[in-house]
Amino acid sequence: MADYEQRDYDVLVIGAGGAGLRAAIEARTEGVSVGLVCKSLLGKAHTVMAEGGIAAAMGNVYPEDNWKVHFRDTMRGGKMINNWRMAQLHAQEAPDRVMELEEWGALFDRTADGRILQRDFGGHRYARLAHVGDRTGLEMIRTLQHRAVQSGIDVMMECKVYRLLKDDDGTVSGAVAYWRESGRFIVIRSKAVVLATGGVGKSWKITSNSWESTGDGHALAIWAGADMIDMEFVQFHPTGMVWPPSVRGLLVTEGVRGDGGVLRNRDGKRFMFDYIPPMFAAETADTEEEAERWYTDRQGARRPPDLLPRDEVARAINAEVKAGRGSPHGGVFLDIGSRRSADYIKRRLPSMYKQFKELADVDITVDPMEVGPTCHYIMGGVRVDAETAATTVPGLFAAGEVAGGMHGANRLGGNSLSDLVVFGRRAGLAAANYAKQRNLATFSDKLIEEITTAALSPFSSEGGENPYTIHAELQDMMQSLVGIIRTHDELVQAEEHLARFKERLGRVSIEGNRQFNPGWHMALDLESMLTVSTAVTMAALERKESRGGHTRDDYPQPDPELGKLNMVIRFSGEPPFRGEMSVTPEPIPEMPDELKALFEEQQH
């Protein structure tokens, strides 16, 4: 008989970043019992890495700003492939969620009259990001963490969910997890499950993501049979550190550019002026003089091209480096030191200052930074209902990065933190209501034993593959074949590689015992990473156009017909790899006329 502990909750939330914490708080407020599982310690989730701010059209700095403008910016940034209803709800509710954080103790920077100050960011028409210097994510997670702790939510730290459990009707009713510390299993029965596991970046070599971002939630949803959309859209943040090697990929906040930093190539040229796409030409400055003026005069000047949406900037940097005009370590220069005073930089960007000073020996108040694209965020994820965050599998909800649709083909900076709290809350609320109508399911010992046996299988062989080696090779492969610029042939090669990795993972062997064994954890995380990588690759093969976070060298232009379709990934079979994964183009939900009109107004 399998040896495991069991716990029961009304709602199980997987992941304790912004979305997970917000969902847990909301569910708890609804009066149900909540269990919150996280792979790390509480408060260490990737949300702490978010720097720039949280986008909300509060209009504190520019009264002209409102949800409609925010909605339009989001849709246009997402290349119109977003789920319009999610984008609308997000734009409408974000201000309330920000105010709520404040009510719970968050301290945002202030305007002169004591309201929340907002800063400029790429793709946002008005200064819209509520922020705390350049550590907004930390402020948000700490605020939510304190609130959650005080609300009496049961937090299971350093615990990884290995498989979801379904009842006889196919409703998700719990999960099998293990404690990372002891390696012991735990069966968590619940009436509803919220996925809030964040991203998948750890499958790429140059990434801003931490070890946790292995796509566990994406994989759990795929294995549970949920529809996945937009998996081909992976955001490469234009500015990651490129030197020294140990910090390659580490994020350099977009706030640097929002606060006056500009991109230059090896020759000192502000190359972004050469890469203004037609879609944004009308509102982007085409001379340096006008761009300079914009920082002080928003009405009389257009935005600098350095603040174009992230996909545009990332592609431009990529092109400059390929053309041999890059910096010594294969990036470009991001210069704020020669343009702003040292005091200003240290006050606005304290953690960037520290990060470069301590890790790269660069004083950013004097010298330019070297930056290059880094894998940052996946727009795609579980297809959810906009109102309830319910997935296509009953009992399963998803919010945050693991959910798809909100950001379309490309996410605007600052829209992620707001996404977390807007849809985290909705998911928590819907899951609590769903849970109230259900009873706990029961699971046979045999089922649990099958699952735990599978999880322990890497211990039973000797002299097999090293999981760290497989991971390193997977990262190299995804970086070179499924990176920023993709082609048909490379994607096909990637699929072949992935098949071989899966087979090698079956032969993996682990030294040591179950107690806090990172090698074993890596082997199990690889199941998620390979599943997600396969989904990304399949969707990328199918989308024969370039759009947002998906650029095909063999189809360099957007295709208006494909712009009306989501690539939907479905899997049927046994986790992790026994089964069929398919990709089906399906029409995106159509926007109602009154929202369409918002985009036509813009034409004039």
Binding site: L42, L138, P244, P245, Y468
Partner: protein, 283 residues
């Protein structure tokens, strides 16, 4: 290429010892990079806790050559590489395995901090706060909960029995953040003095020395809290002024009531856990 000798603590609650690993030196690395290389090539089951590798999450705390540090922010180049580099787990907390310690003590203390209690909003639905007030409190919000201050604090580092009555520097920072929040209405001064062991701190400032976020824990958090406790108890002038002004100070308990945030009492939940069970047992 030269070789680095690393002495890593390997072991668990049943005991352990330093194990020596030799790895080639590489340019621009931090301690955590070297530990990861050892993990990937020589010791697959080496336990180490880490997340962001950018000094933002505070997971990879350990003692490098005896000094509490974040491994991800300690560059190899700043260490004397002609000698072996010693890496031990944090001393104050019970060991789990190798470099990973059980830091639940901190999460338990966190539950005992009375929450933020704001007044009602302004008529226009906003809260008004001003940058000068924000600036002071934001220093405390920088805390990444690496618990290095808790580790280095001799009150619990060297005296296990004090864990029962001492919150530690991290939580004094948390209390300071609440006491200096321009909107908060709770009064935690007596709680700090009577239950959180504020008086245990003898301000020897090691917490400030090890803080990777450079929070002036002693000068800006602990001492102002001690002074606040004096306000509430020992200060003769303040006492007289209070008497003369006859200002009625609400009891902390009354204010704590106002800050209750859980809508449903835990004990009423059908299948609640942890706290609910405790609450039931008491009743």
């Amino acid at each position: 290429m030269s070789e680095i000798i690393m002495r890593l603590w390997r072991g668990d609650a049943n005991g352990g010892s330093f194990q020596e690993y030799r790895v080639p030196a590489q340019e621009g690395e931090v301690v955590l990079d070297v530990v990861h290389r050892i993990q990937a090539t020589q010791a697959g089951d080496l336990a180490v806790r880490w997340n962001c590798k950018a000094g933002k999450c505070g997971s990879c705390s350990a003692e490098v050559n005896g000094k509490p540090r974040l491994m991800c922010m300690t560059r190899m180049a700043e260490l004397p590489l002609d000698q072996p580099i010693t890496i031990a787990p944090m001393r104050t907390f019970p060991i789990m395995k190798d470099l990973v310690t059980d830091v639940r003590f901190n999460f338990e203390v966190a539950k005992r901090v009375p929450p933020f209690a704001p007044p009602p909003r302004q008529p226009d639905g906003t809260y008004r706060m001003f940058q000068e007030d924000i600036d002071r409190a934001q220093e405390f919000h920088k805390c990444i909960e690496c618990f290095l201050c808790q580790d280095v604090c001799h009150v619990i580092r060297d005296h296990e029995e004090n864990k029962a009555r001492y919150a530690g520097p991290r939580f004094f920072v948390r209390f300071a953040e609440l006491e200096m929040h321009p909107l908060d209405t709770n009064d935690r001064r007596l709680l700090l003095k009577e239950r959180m062991g504020l008086g245990m701190c003898n301000i020897t400032k090691c917490c400030t020395e090890v803080c990777p976020e450079e929070i002036h824990i002693t000068d800006n958090a602990i001492i102002p809290l001690k002074e606040r406790a004096v306000d509430a108890t020992y200060d003769p002038l303040a006492f007289i002024i209070r008497k003369i002004a006859r200002r009625k100070r609400p009891l902390p308990a009354e204010e704590a009531q106002a800050s209750a945030i859980v809508t449903t009492p835990l004990s009423e939940l059908a299948d609640g856990h942890g706290d609910a069970k405790k609450a039931k047992a008491k009743a």
